[in-house]
């Protein structure tokens, strides 16, 4: 239910149509712009190695229909899902801890600041030496990419919980556990979720990076192999598919957030 909203009188049917579907229309418009530019750049062509949008999409369709893509994702999703799950759970827990305790802030924050700034590609040989070329190394790469931003965002948001809400909780007899679960975490949730979004995007990058740098499997294999045989349409199709998956996943995350903490979503400033 929306309270205090202006009535819709005095607007033309066209305005109503645009108004009610504006987010969707804007998304479509931005899609047309980007893909149109891609198509044009491919047709010029800006580079011999740059296929058009339509070529890439037909390669994507072909790989989807013959099952190559599904086999590849079965491989790629393993380190990705495991790594992202570990990063999310452990990252939020550690961030909460760091945000609540000065000692833990002092102890752990520097590790994640360093991790965030570290040149990961240069560290991969070290990981491979330590953990081999299997799943473990790849999960590590995903975690190193995803965890720092989740931890640091969570810690910052928890530290900045409005003092008046915590005081209100205590005045109404909240236990420490109540304060954390019912006040600190929900208050921090917008920033925690933005950390999750950034962290999960970084996790996707990490998963592909691991497949390019450690052993070519899954989607990384399609990219490496297609490039080596100059099948650039397939290569861009694979890259496109991973971006698409990331976007879909981030949208899902946003839905979860809105479902959990509706009142935190207050629309756009221009609405």
């Amino acid at each position: 239910m929306s309270v205090m909203r202006d009535g819709a009188e005095g607007r033309s049917p066209w305005q109503d149509l645009v108004g009610s579907h504006r987010p969707l229309l804007l998304k479509l418009l931005s899609g047309v712009l980007v893909f149109g530019a891609w198509e044009i750049a491919g047709r010029i062509p800006v580079s011999y190695a740059f296929p058009t949008f339509i070529e890439s999409m037909s390669a994507l369709l072909r790989m989807t229909l013959d099952g190559t893509l599904f086999a590849a994702y079965a491989e790629t999703l393993k380190p990705l899902v495991v790594g992202v799950a570990i990063s999310a759970v452990l990252g939020i827990a550690l961030g909460l801890w760091i945000g609540l305790s000065k000692t833990f802030d002092w102890l752990f924050s520097p590790i994640f600041v360093v991790m965030q700034a570290a040149p990961l590609a240069a560290l991969i040989p070290l990981l491979v030496m330590a953990y081999g070329i299997g799943l473990t190394s790849k999960v590590f790469v995903v975690c190193i990419m995803a965890m720092p931003v989740i931890v640091l965002n969570t810690a910052g948001a928890v530290r900045n919980t409005p003092a008046n809400l915590k005081e209100m909780g205590r005045a109404f007899l909240a236990t420490d556990r109540d304060v954390i679960l019912k006040i600190v975490l929900p208050a921090a949730s917008p920033v925690i979720f933005s950390g999750l979004r950034l962290g999960i995007s970084a996790g996707f990058i990490g998963a592909i990076l691991a497949e390019l740098k450690i052993t070519p499997t899954g989607v990384g294999d399609i990219i490496t192999f297609s490039r080596s045989v100059a099948d650039y349409a397939s290569m861009y199709a694979a890259i496109f598919s991973i971006i698409l998956l990331a976007v879909l996943f981030l949208n899902l995350l946003e839905r979860i957030e809105t479902g959990l903490f509706g009142g935190n979503v207050r629309g756009y400033a221009s609405d």
Partner: protein
């Protein structure tokens, strides 16, 4: 000059005091926010703490609430010493302190939720108080969809729904506009009459304090102390519309201003 109001002696342990503050001192390092303050709050009445900024009135209220610990001295609520927040006191905050992610219903029921009251039961109670403060129909709205005055009504409903004996109000109307504030003041007078609770009300507005109070404690700063206790006699039972033109009301407002004037920078 004989003032129409009588002055009460500072005697704690009066039988019918809901809250008694005894020799409270609160210092932050070298700064003494409150010094050796003693004050009692009669049951079923509204007592205002009035004074210039920096006189420690909010500090005193938070000590009574159990949110701040006094450096020395004690607070008795219904004869029992305060060691922390308790079910006998509820707080209304100056900045409302509503949960922005929770609906009006959940905000009002939040105190009961923290006390472990089952959902259906606490929502029934909350619904009653939401209607009582005039917000019926807004149960599913979120705080950011409400005006400032409506938000404070939510804060008031939350404090009422836990059914505490003592209601602590920290400048509750200072963040709402003038017209809403007047309406709130009238509603507060009705609440004091009907709810049979003890109200402790912090304000910096002289007119507001005189308008709503059974007893006004004037606090002065540096060092913070109770300088005067005023009990308006004549107009308390009058109709809300006639209070502001009552000669006694006007005299008390003038009197308080002349005693506070020199403390305002």
């Amino acid at each position: 000059m004989v003032m129409p109001q009588t002055e009460r002696a500072f005697t704690p342990d009066t039988v019918d005091d809901a809250v008694t503050v005894k020799r409270i001192t609160k210092s932050y390092g070298a700064v003494e926010a409150l010094k050796n303050m003693t004050l009692s709050f009669p049951r079923g009445e509204l007592t205002s703490l009035l004074g210039p900024s920096g006189c420690g009135k909010t500090t005193l209220l938070k000590i009574i609430a159990g949110l701040l610990e006094p450096t020395s001295g004690e607070v008795l609520v219904n004869g029992r010493a305060v060691t922390g927040p308790g079910p006998d006191r509820a707080f209304v905050f100056q900045d409302f302190a509503l949960l922005p992610w929770a609906s009006v219903m959940r905000n009002v029921a939040f105190g009961l939720e923290l006390r472990g009251v089952a959902q259906s039961e606490r929502e029934a109670i909350a619904e009653k108080y939401i209607a009582h403060v005039g917000l019926k129909g807004f149960e599913r709205a979120y705080p950011h969809e409400l005006s400032g005055g409506m938000r404070q009504r939510v804060g008031l409903a939350r404090a009422l729904s836990v059914d505490a004996d003592v209601l602590l109000m920290d400048e509750p109307f200072s963040a709402v506009d003038e017209q809403t504030r007047r309406k709130f003041q009238e509603d507060l007078l009705n609440l004091v009459k009907t709810e049979n609770k003890t109200f402790i009300f912090v304000t910096h507005s002289i007119e507001e304090a005189v308008y709503v109070s059974d007893q006004i404690a004037i606090l002065l700063p540096r060092p913070s102390r109770v300088s005067q206790i005023i009990r308006p006699q004549g107009f308390r039972d009058k109709d809300v519309d006639n209070i502001r033109r009552d000669p006694e009301y006007l005299d008390i407002v003038d009197d308080i201003w002349s005693s506070l004037r020199s403390y305002v920078e």
